[in-house]
């Protein structure tokens, strides 16, 4: 086995699983865009294309019972934490077979049994929830770690300050992961955040902060593993900023008038999936054909997920008033 593989403490199967998971996210998101454009999806959808390495790198460092909170751009986190693509796709189409029986849609998918405490339609909405999940893990002594995913847009929400401070003073097992994809809708991170590296903000909370290449799944995995270990061993929260790029814009209806092809192209060259593929081939973990076979398998799963979702029934109106209270 190649040295590089051992260096990050991953088996061949784990690395191939990372590749599969990233391929799933990409295929799922492209299909979601197609379905929206076909007119079979309502509302909107925010694609995670380009950012796959972060969700997969972080979730690969977690136990199945660890929890995550996600964002409006949440499909990637859900898939990386083991979410069911068929149920996700059905939810996107508002079908009764969807995760929420059609009551939530793209921004409100959760799978509590898998530790997925939900995507979130409110920017920063998951931060306090993740902090509370960390508190609960500490009180129950169950050794769980709570991961909070958020975007650079959420860096300037007040709840981030409150959450990081609370997690820090109580030494809660929380890992704050900022996915700096450069934009909050059309607003550039450097125009809205005064520090050049948002990871420096960790100093203000007395917790470790570091910047990591969000286009390198192995680098993300390494950084996340350290932070998760620190959290699990009772040393408290960490802050990781993963630098990445939003290939497809804010959402399916983004006019994209605020950036140029010249800006986007170099980021596309850093494509995290191609980077991992090259790494796997170079280190003889897999052949190019094997990686392509994984992608074909993934594509057929996504195809059947969307076929099944289209065929499924919409929820009956009699379900309207159920699930409000336990």
């Amino acid at each position: 086995m190649a040295i590089a593989v051992e260096m990050v403490g991953l088996t061949r199967e784990q690395m191939l699983q990372m590749f599969r998971s990233m391929a799933e996210i990409r295929a799922f998101e492209h299909r979601a865009y197609e379905l929206y454009r076909e007119g079979v999806m309502r509302g909107t959808t925010h694609a995670y294309v380009g950012e796959e390495a972060i969700a997969v790198g972080v979730c690969s460092a977690l136990r199945p019972d660890d929890t995550i909170t996600s964002t409006h751009r949440g499909h990637g986190h859900c898939i990386a934490k083991g979410g069911d693509m068929s149920m996700m796709m059905a939810e996107l189409l508002g079908k009764e077979t969807g995760y929420s029986g059609g009551k939530g849609g793209s921004m409100h998918i959760a799978d509590v049994d898998k530790g997925i405490l939900g995507a979130n339609g409110i920017v920063g909405g998951g931060m306090g929830i993740a902090t509370g999940a960390g508190l609960s893990a500490k009180l129950l002594g169950n050794g769980r770690v709570s991961v909070c995913f958020f975007g650079d847009g959420a860096l300037n929400q007040g709840i981030l300050h409150e959450s990081m401070n609370l997690a820090a003073i109580w030494k809660l097992p929380v890992v704050f992961i900022c996915e700096n994809n450069q934009f909050a809708m059309s607003a550039r991170v450097q125009d809205m955040t005064a520090v050049p590296d948002p990871a420096d903000r960790a100093i203000a909370y007395g917790i470790p902060g570091q910047n990591v290449d969000g286009m390198d799944v192995l680098a993300v995995f390494r950084a996340a593993s350290e932070a998760v270990e620190r959290a699990r061993s009772g040393q408290g929260p960490s802050f990781i900023v993963a630098t990445t790029y939003r290939f497809l814009g804010h959402h399916v209806g983004d006019p994209l008038n605020y950036r140029t092809k010249e800006e986007v192209d170099p980021w596309r060259e850093k494509d995290a999936i191609e980077r991992l593929r090259a790494h796997l081939i170079e280190n003889k973990v897999a052949t190019e054909e094997e990686t392509q076979a994984i992608e074909q398998e993934v594509q057929s799963h996504v195809d059947s997920a969307s076929t099944n979702a289209k065929a499924a029934a919409e929820p009956d109106a009699s379900n309207l008033m159920t699930d409000i209270f336990a």
Binding site: T67, Y99, K103, G104, A110, T131, A133
Partner: protein, 335 residues
């Protein structure tokens, strides 16, 4: 010879604050996953600005009775996350006014989470706060905001007026698997009442008829239950029979009990300290009119807070609030 009457078997007299304290203590003994967090709930004065959490940190320790920073939004949001993952938080927000800072986690997260996730999550959480005017706390520490929360589907809103109700309802709130907004009243903390010995809970959505009567129904919230009872006492001397109802939970609202009473009396007065505009009183009137219009002999009356930020000076604060005499005046208007 006058013989001192012993208290009725199985009750004790205690304050509203003491009754709440007892509820917390009993539920924390009963269930190790219950914990309390909030500003100054552990150290200040031995526990809580109004003494509701007094002595709890001695019994349960600082892990389960947690003083927080002044960060209302994350107190509420962390309660959501903790409730979603196996514990039963009781979060205290010192004044309901500060709940303006918690509206995101309560309204957008807690209230909707179960529905958004298709019924696949439970959130057994209580947010306790105190509201109300009458102590010169001025505009940012005197509001009554129960209508804000009653307006949001997915929340239960509790407004006890007596020590016994406060205890029984708080125990129910802690055992409930849904987000509960538990609103105490700062003036009522010092009132005393009989509280049953031993274990009991009071169900949500069940109003309590605090006094039976036949001429007019008065529905009061918090202090207005006490004001209405005084009004009833005074009017009884004139032969006017007033029925006083405390809904106890404004969401769910026990419409049936109120409607049954109105069908008997033909007259309705609602009273709360909260500003009249958009208040729960309007909702109660509407719900009664929906189903009992033909039983009403006179227009329903609202005896509520004036539509004004609560003022500081005693003369102004009194003028902004509804009291016994205002209830009596409203009753006279429709009799």
């Amino acid at each position: 010879m006058a013989i001192a009457t012993p208290p009725a078997t199985g009750t004790r007299t205690m304050t509203y604050a003491e009754a709440l304290n007892e509820a917390l203590r009993e539920e924390m003994r009963r269930d190790p996953t219950v914990f309390v967090m909030g500003e100054d709930v552990a150290i200040w004065g031995g526990g809580g600005v109004f003494g509701v959490t007094k002595g709890l940190v001695e019994e349960f320790g600082p892990e389960r009775i947690r003083d927080t920073p002044i960060s209302e939004q994350v107190i509420a949001a962390a309660a959501v996350g903790a409730a979603a993952t196996g514990t039963r938080p009781v979060a205290e927000i010192m004044y309901v006014d500060f709940m303006a800072l918690t509206m995101e986690p309560i309204v957008n997260q807690a209230a909707k989470m179960r529905y958004m996730f298709g019924g696949k999550i439970t959130l057994p959480m209580v947010i306790r706060a105190q509201e109300g005017a009458g102590r010169g706390n001025a505009a940012q520490h005197s509001q009554s905001l129960e209508a804000w929360f009653a307006h949001v589907p997915g929340l239960k809103v509790v407004t006890p007026s007596t020590p016994a109700d406060a205890k029984g309802l708080l125990k129910t709130a802690i055992r409930d698997d849904n987000p509960v907004i538990f609103l105490e009243h700062k003036v009522l903390y010092f009132t005393r009442g009989e509280v049953p010995e031993g274990e009991y809970t009071i169900p949500f959505g069940v109003a309590d008829v605090k006094r039976e009567g036949t001429d007019v129904t008065v529905v009061g919230i918090h202090t207005q239950v006490l004001e209405a009872l005084q009004a009833a006492e005074e009017l009884a001397e004139e032969g006017i029979s007033v029925e006083v109802i405390d809904p106890r939970t404004v969401s769910p609202l026990d419409v049936d009990t109120i409607v049954s009473s109105v069908k008997k009396t033909g007259r309705l007065v609602v009273s709360h300290q909260a500003a009249e505009q958009g208040g729960v009183g309007g909702e109660i009137v509407a719900r009664v009119v929906d189903v009992a219009f033909d039983y009403l002999d006179a227009p329903p009356q609202r005896v509520c807070g004036k539509n004004v930020p609560l003022p500081y000076a005693q003369s102004l604060e009194r003028a902004a609030l509804p009291y016994k005499d205002d209830i009596i005046a409203a009753i006279r208007r429709i009799l």
